[in-house]
Symmetry: C2
Amino acid sequence: MPRPPQLSPAATSIKGSVYSSVLHRLAAYGGEVYPLHVGDTFLEPADGCRMEDLTVAAHPGMHRYAPPQGLPALVDAVVDRIRVRTGVPVERSNVFVAGGGTSGLASVVGAIVSPGDEVLILAPHWPLIEGHVKMAGGVPVDVPFFGVADSASTAAAVVEAALSPRTVALYVNTPSNPTGRVIPRAWLEALVALARRHDLWLLFDEVYEDYVYRGEHVPGLSLAPERSFAVHSFSKAYGMAGNRIGYVAGPAAAIAEALKISTHTVYAAPTAAQLAALRILEGAGDAWIARTRDAYRSLGEASADRLGVPRPEGSTFLFLDVAPHLDARGLDGFLEDAADRGLLLSPGPSFGPCPTHARICYTSAPPDVVLRGVEVLASLLGK
Amino acid sequence: MPRPPQLSPAATSIKGSVYSSVLHRLAAYGGEVYPLHVGDTFLEPADGCRMEDLTVAAHPGMHRYAPPQGLPALVDAVVDRIRVRTGVPVERSNVFVAGGGTSGLASVVGAIVSPGDEVLILAPHWPLIEGHVKMAGGVPVDVPFFGVADSASTAAAVVEAALSPRTVALYVNTPSNPTGRVIPRAWLEALVALARRHDLWLLFDEVYEDYVYRGEHVPGLSLAPERSFAVHSFSKAYGMAGNRIGYVAGPAAAIAEALKISTHTVYAAPTAAQLAALRILEGAGDAWIARTRDAYRSLGEASADRLGVPRPEGSTFLFLDVAPHLDARGLDGFLEDAADRGLLLSPGPSFGPCPTHARICYTSAPPDVVLRGVEVLASLLGK
């Protein structure tokens, strides 16, 4: 019993922020800062979809609660969007508007994971998914996948090898944060077949679905609607991460439970963010994405070329193994050397068993800043 | 193991929305609707603190992520606010900005409650707190308190009688939702002494702290800073429930754990909402509250007088025992009869062991609408 000052072991087992150890070094550095550790964008949202565009005159009561499932018009727009993109005839009961993709995933995990349950996580992976599983009392199991699997059959084989009698779900993020990879259709079909054989839930984290530069994004819901959750975000797609809004789709009975968890954590997504999201889905977002995708692709390819790594297939990240460039201080020393030159990187261990990797986000600052930061990194890598 | 289509028992044990069973009756009703079931306000936020007042020109990057703890300027303003109101010399490490009071409470409960732990909840209580405890695997224990305790010693006695070896925390909401009561200082001091004797955490839900009409609001943090969390909201205080923003204070080590839970559920509070909150704390909020408090008090007193119940001491609710007016259909029948006349009420069982009560929020609609809704209720009560 965690009486004061004791705390819940489930909470204390979750990782905290990983950036604080190097941020203080910036204080001693007077030059330009390259914040490539943050997964965000340098762009402002589409015209007409900014907070200043949402007026009380046009939207009386827009600072009051929205219903927990979402504003009815937005719920309907989300249903339409999912039908068009997946071909699955979802209904209102299959979706809810979430307080961001993070909140959506936390709600889904809370609905399906019980204490002791294991969740397989394709690694390297988005950092927060491990904590979601721990919050529900579950056990996150990293499955080294990106850079390991090289075909549909090996994709299924590496996941199959990690199964246990306690496995209840598989987390799949494509396009991938941090690797920039896009999982091919045949591989996804093999994972879905495995999930059906072993009766697993599938958690598809598709927040980068609009940022694919090579290959094809295949919506998970289209492959196995009976056992899949799909989590989407307006943050990554439309440059509004600070709005905290996304949406979730899945089987109706399971969505009802996830919505209860969402109601108990955020109550409802922010109302103004929902109004902005509705404008996005009503058409304002398409041109923004088309333009932004080209800009992101150019930045990703220029960064990859300069660093001598494969060009990204999707998302907004590059994930580099810097092992040959580490000294006795290990990765921390490398990150500190970078910070001493103004460059902030995300450490590999945040993403799973990756002790010698670092991640950059090539959209987190204006292009000229990103490219100067990449130059600093190239120089640290002797390139 | 909850394989598809099974779900987590922790999730399924949480109550869902309680309003849906009567909402469909409104479809058959063509007249004016009195939505007194919602805990919200008819007012728009203060001038200068609306979304339309927050421009990209003035705040470049305002649609990007904020840091998980909150925008530094807002964190500092929150620290100042708490110091002034409580006299406790809190530091930045004692606070974080939450994605609403609901999210703040969920984060605190996640940090201190382990599976099997019991949390005592002064009842009748805010509906969502039970679900928070269940999400952490804990056991919520209702302690009938408001309307039962009538002195400092009976306040402590009713809580003491509910203790078990598994009790880890006591939840105290004052001013109270749903009862409109404000817990006197001497009673709070008795509860604090009990918490110290039995080594319990204290969760002070103070989201209605600015709406006290009789008596005095005593900040919980001022009484027992070593074991208390205080949860505050801009929703209730400043008419911006849709913004999803609040803040939490408590012991630094515990706040660090609660912040990890918050990061894993909302990541950070919405950035625009944080900018609005900063304007509120920088001065725009005080005049709004002074004006609003008078309006709310008038409405509460007029409603109570018409319904023949004691005038409220605080918050924005009245909680009525309608037992003498129930027929064989019980409370559901009463709520249905009300809905058939356009009046929506919150059912007592949402708030604990209150099978014959109903709650109204007298600020959820413009004053004339509220007062006409109260007339409908008075007529249902034969008054």
